[in-house]
Symmetry: C2
Subunit: 306 residues, 2 copies
């Protein structure tokens, strides 16, 4: 079970941290931008090249202290073909360094379409009698709004190829209340219903650590909801965004751990990769952006583990 | 307002039909496959090339009888970079023939990420002091699960660039009941709440035909729900999937029109593009797949308009 690999790496490294690789062009080091724009012009291809060089340096500086990275595909997809190429290369490079990759793609569609997403991202595609991999992330994030039949293709591929998914349950943003917090006639909010579905979907994919490869996304910004979800989803592993920049603190995560102090992996994106822009790491200089990222991970680790 | 252009084209052509371009490799004409695999090998690049050649022929045969096409990005994305390139070229070719393009991407994410999707798909991306377009669809489909702040970046770009979105409200698949049909304490199912949000989001984008550029996806397989939604969303235009292959009939659509017999555009994908495989169009031969598609559109038009 892939979830066992993730939990083992968290235990071995004592690091329930995933670094979000969500590059923003205006936050890239000036020297890196100048150098690549000079050669390639101010093009989407150049921007994608800058992202890749940046990601590679970040990965080289963190691969031995975190179990996973989480590239957000939107940041790449906005650049079109060159961006998708950069996303795929980032996934591949991270895996070559032993990192697990959570593709933050939040896809969701009806059965045959979900199958195409699943085959492309966590399965295999067949071209006549040949077999190919397209994206090949380890885990992907999935949107549940369209219901069980929109998720089942991913479950098949999780079984078949030893992959995993994180389903949106209670997201970190303020607007998550608009639909996810609506209370149904049985007194439960929507996110609890989704949580119950996620538990069900994961029943056949529970590994030796007691967690399923069908996981949930639960925002650090909702500590109470997270605590209730943990109580009701003992076998579900949580990906927790919203720590740091969005306001979630180490204290907010306490109720989301299980009694063994396992069960979550906490994401930080800008707080790590853009640390070199912050007051705290200013003295590093922008050429040391990757070292600043490493030290920001170590600081986050101290903060989380107390 | 872009929605006016869509409604006008529907009126002019007397054709509330959008053709879904969701190519499946095993359904492509054998001769087209053989020819391209021979030259390019059995690769994702070859598959993408086959899709593009197929789409181009379909578009050439339908651009004068339908207002829009709807490529489903998953079918392309599964092929990786080559697939995304094919998707973008398909969008561009359809637009060059005067078709409106609804990019069926069903994206949904928190604000900064939604902004990246929006800029890439319906807005513009800035690379230093230069401006580029990546996907450039006219409309895209959007998933509402993450709430208002996850949708607002698209609304800004709809205003700024004269684009539109279709938000999932009640989807055509069976599993749509799992979350969308849950009843809240005020007696309304979730899809009604989402419908109300969509109406609200669209208030500032209502055009001269009385419809907003913020539209809804409502499955043909749910005639009762569609009728209730129409009554409660008089200014919302509906994209209606689920006609034909999924079981929706012309009769099921009656309650979704407004009193002027406007307000919906009905999607058919396989029913049109794969018509040449059906019993009805078998005599055409696979080399006439595009002519079969055209005649299937005309048959659908007769069926819808009665």
């Amino acid at each position: 079970m892939l979830i066992d690999k993730l939990v083992s790496r968290i235990i071995d490294l004592d690091s329930p941290i995933v670094v979000g690789l969500d590059p923003r062009l205006d936050k890239m080091p000036q020297k890196l931008r100048d150098e690549i724009f000079f050669v390639r012009g101010k093009t989407p291809e150049a921007a994608a090249r800058i992202f890749y060089r940046f990601n590679k340096a970040i990965i080289d500086h963190i691969y031995d202290i975190v179990p996973a990275v989480k590239p957000q595909i939107a940041m790449y997809e906005q650049l079109g073909v060159a961006g998708i190429d950069c996303y795929i290369k980032t996934v591949s490079y991270a895996k070559s360094k032993g990192l697990l990759v959570i593709g933050d793609i939040k896809r969701g569609d009806i059965a045959t379409t979900a199958e195409a997403y699943s085959h492309g991202h966590i399965g295999k595609i067949e071209i006549e009698d040949t077999v190919h991999k397209a994206f090949d992330e380890d885990f992907i994030t999935v949107n549940p709004y369209m219901g069980s039949d929109s998720v089942s293709p991913y479950l098949s591929d999780c079984q078949k190829y030893g992959k995993g998914i994180f389903v949106l349950v209670k997201t970190s943003n303020k607007g998550s209340k608009d639909i996810q917090d609506l209370i149904t006639v049985d007194g439960l909010p929507i996110y609890r219903h989704v949580g119950n579905l996620v538990s069900e979907w994961g029943n056949d994919l529970i590994g030796e650590h007691g967690f399923s490869s069908v996981c949930a996304v639960v925002g650090a910004t909702h500590p109470e909801e997270g605590t209730i979800l943990r109580e009701n989803m003992p076998h579900t592993f949580f990906l927790v965004p919203g720590y740091g920049a969005q306001g979630g603190t180490a204290k907010d995560l306490q109720g989301m751990y299980n009694p063994d102090k396992l069960g979550i992996i906490v994401n930080s994106s800008r707080g790590i990769t853009e640390a070199f822009h912050s007051e705290e790491y200013k003295t590093y200089g922008e050429h040391n952006f990757a070292q600043a990222a490493r030290d920001a991970v170590l600081a986050m680790k101290r903060d989380l583990l107390g």
